[in-house]
Amino acid sequence: MIELGKENFDSEIKEHQGVAMVDFWGESCGRCMELMPDVIELADRYESDIKFAKLNIKGNRRVAMGQGVMGLPSIVFYKDGEKIEHLSGEELEAEQIEEAIKRYI
């Protein structure tokens, strides 16, 4: 998974042709930390179809808010640089993320 920050968010995601998924996470977000291994596994499995990236909101809060993300966990899908789906909430499960991935491949 690509590590995103304010310096590369646009070049990696906004200018990417095709589907990309960004995992917005933070160290104080328990659910994010818990989902992370599953997300990495999904990234390994589907990396040939979708671009996977993650963004630690620490130091990148403005980038996240610019993407309409104001709560964690947030998994956001993009197509040709346009936001197409935002999954969020404490109850978010890896299965829901995988279902979304399957919709976009």
């Binding site: 933070g26 104080s28 328990g30 659910r31 930390m33 309409g68 993300v69 709560g71 935002h86 404490e90």
Partner: protein, 401 residues
């Protein structure tokens, strides 16, 4: 199928982990099954922790890490799994616990400590803007609201304490309170802290009607309950702290519930023998870390007793090769004491073994045989009750032989 655990604890919050410490220390084979939440349950989402005795100042996550460390020290196992079902096995002793992925765990005793989750009110815009300005956890999302203006809904301890915490990040907090001016549901210390904080203001007698925004939250419509007047306010975020709902869906039909909360007795026992409840999931008066920890300790000790009693019963009565005399007695009862000495002597004369069940300590087995009179003596053969005598006189005892 896995090996049989002595105690299976469902939930890794304060109640579950406290039970874990007691079970582990009691040398019981213990497993904590954790659902989707991180270890620590609701406490791990709390920032200001001032009411756990002995911990003068700490954060929820830090305290829960200590609980976890304490469990690890005593060899408690941890596994991930969302429990979907709980039922008594055919032997009437072992419990089968099923998780969503189909795994079945077996345990002699189960402690349900699944806690509760934030209540979702279902206000217009609430779901739509979750993670886009609507938040339920200050720890998780506070930093998004740095230097912004927010609304907090609720006036209980969580709402008030988290509002004070949020003022470290945000520009201003407006608390929307259902009650008349000056009335909150929080304890006095928390209220005083909020009232003294100049970043916090109040909108009394009101509820949030709608959360508005385009991509992110940008305002709320607030209804005054007295006048019916609706006013619009700009805001960057809405934190909802309006109580919790228990996580007991999987217990529906298995144990008795009250409005979703588990009905427990003073030993944390539920309507299913060997299944105990601990923490916020219980139908109780005060839901705090300290009471959850207390529940956990009681449930763990009760579970240990339950197992010892059941195993003793099976081994010494149900599986016994010879007949057994079982005396249900109460050591505080004079008639019981008199009977016991006579029973021992007569039994010895007939080379019969006596098993005693102390009904003062536990009613579990006594209830199974519907013992209402103390003392009662039953003669068992091949695990079945053969002859029963209630409150016998010395002469009547002879009928047993």
């Amino acid at each position: 199928m896995s090996e049989v655990y002595d105690v299976l604890i469902i939930g890794g919050g304060a109640g579950g982990l406290s039970a874990g410490v007691y079970c582990g220390r009691g040398k019981m084979k213990t497993l904590v099954l954790e659902g989707s939440a991180r270890t620590g349950g609701q406490c791990a989402k709390t920032n200001e922790l001032e009411n756990y005795p002995g911990i003068v100042e700490s954060t929820g996550p830090a305290l829960m890490d200590k609980f976890r460390e304490h469990c690890d020290k005593f060899g408690v196992e941890f596994q991930r799994g969302m429990v979907s079902g709980l039922k008594m096995a055919e032997d009437g002793f072992t419990k089968d616990v099923t998780t969503k992925d189909g795994t079945v765990y077996q345990a002699k005793s189960v402690i349900v400590a699944t806690g509760a989750n934030p209540r979702i009110l279902g206000i217009k815009g609430e779901r739509e803007f979750t993670a886009k300005g609507v938040a339920y956890c200050a720890t998780c999302d506070a930093e998004f609201f740095e230097d912004l203006d927010i609304i907090v809904v609720g006036s209980g301890n969580t709402a008030v304490e988290e509002s004070v915490f949020l003022t470290k990040f945000v520009n201003s907090v407006r608390m929307v309170v259902l009650h008349d001016e000056g009335t909150m549901d929080a304890d006095r210390t928390a209220q005083e802290q909020a009232l003294a904080n100049d970043k916090i203001s109040f909108i009394w007698n009101s509820t949030v009607e709608e959360i508005c925004g385009d991509e992110l939250v940008n305002g709320v419509r607030i209804k005054n309950l007295k006048t019916g007047e609706i006013t619009e306010h700009d805001t960057d975020g809405v934190f909802m702290f309006v109580g919790t709902v228990p996580n007991t869906d999987f217990l529906e039909g298995a144990v008795e519930l009250n409005r979703g909360y588990i009905k427990v007795d003073d030993k944390m026992g539920t309507s299913m023998p060997g299944v105990f409840g601990a923490g916020d999931v219980n139908d109780k008066w005060l839901r705090q870390v300290v009471t959850a920890a207390g529940d956990g300790a009681i449930a763990a000790v009760a579970a240990e007793r339950y197992i010892a009693e059941e195993e003793h019963w099976s081994h010494s009565v149900l599986e016994a090769k010879e007949d057994r005399l079982v005396a249900f007695w109460n050591p505080l009862d004079k008639q019981s004491l008199e009977l016991m000495s006579q029973l021992e002597t007569r039994a010895e004369a007939h080379s019969l073994k006596v098993v005693t069940i102390d009904t003062y300590k536990s009613r579990n087995i006594a209830d199974r045989y519907e013992i209402t009179q103390i003392p009662t003596v039953i003669r068992f053969r091949d695990g079945e009750a053969l002859k029963r005598i209630e409150a016998p006189s010395a002469e009547k005892l002879e009928e047993l032989f």
